[in-house]
Assembly symmetry: D3
Homo-oligomer: 166 residues x 6
């Protein structure tokens, strides 16, 4: 075990001296990797109605949020300091409008074939997708809340499969 990558804390982004580094993934295999992340934004019923009508007819909030989410996934390594640059093979963004509690749920699937996972790419896409909805609706509802942003599942890589317990 080399000094440079040893961590005494379990936090692999720090070496044995506690200094942050972009951890070595050179010895990892290039495998198919998938991550699915989700999150939601809660709003006033009147705001929700505006988004809902808009996405069907005019003022396509959801379409713009989807574009922003996909583009943000490609900027992940620019934003998250210790994240490796990754050549994404696929990004899909789904929005689910839930009228019962005036919330919009965003779920992103990211895939690559590489040496490191795509969890951060999926999560970044969710965050920016939801923020874009906030931006477009904030003129009528500043109190919207983004909640429950988390990883749902990941597959591939040395650590294998992981699925959220709930």
């Amino acid at each position: 075990m080399s000094n440079s990558s040893a961590s005494t804390t379990g936090l692999t982004h720090f070496d044995a001296a506690g200094q942050a580094h972009m951890v070595d993934v050179g010895a990892k295999d290039e495998t198919h990797r998938v991550a699915v992340a989700t999150g939601c934004i809660r709003m006033q019923p009147a705001t929700f109605a505006l988004v809902q009508s808009g996405s069907a007819k005019k003022g396509d909030v959801i379409g713009i949020a989807r574009t922003a989410a996909i583009m943000a996934s490609k900027r992940t390594a620019d934003l998250i300091p210790l994240c490796h640059p990754i050549a994404l093979n696929r990004v899909a963004v789904d929005f689910d409008l839930q009228p019962q509690d005036s919330s919009i749920h965003c779920t992103v699937t990211a895939e690559t074939r590489g040496r490191t996972g795509v969890e951060m790419e999926a999560l970044t896409a969710v965050q920016i997708g939801l923020l874009t909805i906030y931006d477009m609706c904030k003129a009528v509802d500043r109190g919207m809340i983004i909640d429950g942003v988390r990883l749902l599942e990941k597959h591939g890589g040395k650590s294998g499969d992981w699925v959220a317990s709930v």
Copy 2:
């Protein structure tokens, strides 16, 4: 009222035909504008303990997240499609570690003197600050959840002061 900026929906990012645009702020005054946003990340007690010890001694998760949050605030207009580019005058990022429920709360204050507000800059900084914590701790805890990302208050501009009700 010109056709190009009229919105029939209340969503000002769309014109009368429902097409998205970067809305005209040229007629707005350059005023002092402040926005405060917040959000938190919830984790396992063992993960929380690692972050807490790290930020005091070695493996400075919080310091890196703060840097990432400040840098992300400057990329807001690159990420959010209809957001105006803004010359930020100040960005401050505070992290509050709450052992009782193993959560870390991030609060960002952004300020400018300009024609449009800085809510999105404050929110983007919160999101990327919390995501950076996720990235650095995900090797030991993939189930962390980002919750309650929202605007706390804003001041300045034509719409004046706004403070979250809770």
Copy 3:
């Protein structure tokens, strides 16, 4: 007239020694500036029909191209070497579908209040908007051609108004 900004060629982006520089705009007034640029993409009638139906129902090529155009306008100074960074006040992107020759025309209006014009921002938005249409349709039609990208008019600044002759 100072040496550093003198040009012997009429090309103001070069100094008296022929070296490129970002020309000094510090002495210019902050005035309201507008630029309108246009351009089109020509395609097969079958491709045109796909875009036309898509923008009405599903597969919103035009909506995504509009978002890309607006975002690109904000990246202009990153792409054009001698272009000054500008705080855009407004960007509006219009697409006109012309069935008679299966072409889509993109017209962008950009505005700012500053010391330098926004012609490049408007032109960059047109270019990337049309390229985005190419990208989304290239699987069915690689022979599409982008034509007639040019400035239609500009207003404001020391050089005043300019309107294309045709």
Copy 4:
């Protein structure tokens, strides 16, 4: 055929529900891929003479446009929403000055070894290369027109070779 990548329109950037996605290229082979794109900018004879003399002696418009074109090819995935990030292996930019009609033609060759083509990288380089010429000459000639931006040929990948008919 999986639902997630099925398209009912032939436009592969949309799934069966008409939602935009970054299409899955994970199953594609890593092959050698080449794309050649071209386009031109038309100007006044006096403007053309300035560029021509400049590129030989001082005020190197063409050299700066070439640098801008190469750099822009690397930003393609940042600009075009559904474009995959690609590790370019080669980019070459050629400018051909045609005195007979005062036009400058830009031809870009891009190459990679990857799972998706480099047409967009070549086209983006052409667009930004020509826009950079516009920027540097606009002080003397605002009426310049960018025309004929299109793909000349592509090689590699599942769809194989394609060469423009003209």
Copy 5:
């Protein structure tokens, strides 16, 4: 004196609690600000001869380095974490080839009218300009050294004029 901007160390980028922030410049006046920075790269005489001949005839190392330096000045706030975004009014880059010790000296002048200085923009341009020379010559000379990168002078702002002592 507010807590949020107080520093106990003299390092203004940290608040009273030692936390980094983007310091508040909102109360500063918008004044004309200039910064001049310099630095050099030392190389083998044979490498120097290649650059020298190239910049006169073909293979314009200096021209490309100048373009890279100007473009880098616009990315300063993206690279330096606590740096404010600035609307640069002018950037000029001069290269001085000194045959007596086979060194190339780069001097950059940056100007703005704003609330904070442009020292970092000038220094970033020098660094990237010299690195670009390194990149283009490294195939023949990997031992080149970049030396003496520093501020020569600055003017404007509350702290007024400063000129390097040597």
Copy 6:
């Protein structure tokens, strides 16, 4: 030997006609590549003392500079015109505080598995790491000097190992 990649000068970034290009690396093997670069910043003893105390207790200049260096390594191809985009596998940044001459030395190791080396990524990280220290200390010491930025060693690729002579 094809015309397009031939260079008559030994400077491989220029073709036989002296035009800059991003040189073809498609025929190179994907090998493990490492580069180590270094450089230092010299300052007043009082400034050095501030940094030294800060990095132990509060005001973590070194931690922020390390984060900036790692992030900058990922932006190399955006900054250096003819540099190929690279998927970095590892970046480690070490700072060595030398009280005897009030200097801080930065050493960066970059690794990839690819078709081209990572010298520029390591050097860019050193430059931006040292510039970040300058930025955070410039309020108390504008005369700091960055010196000795150079490659220490590289391994892998066709040209094999190289180690600086001193």
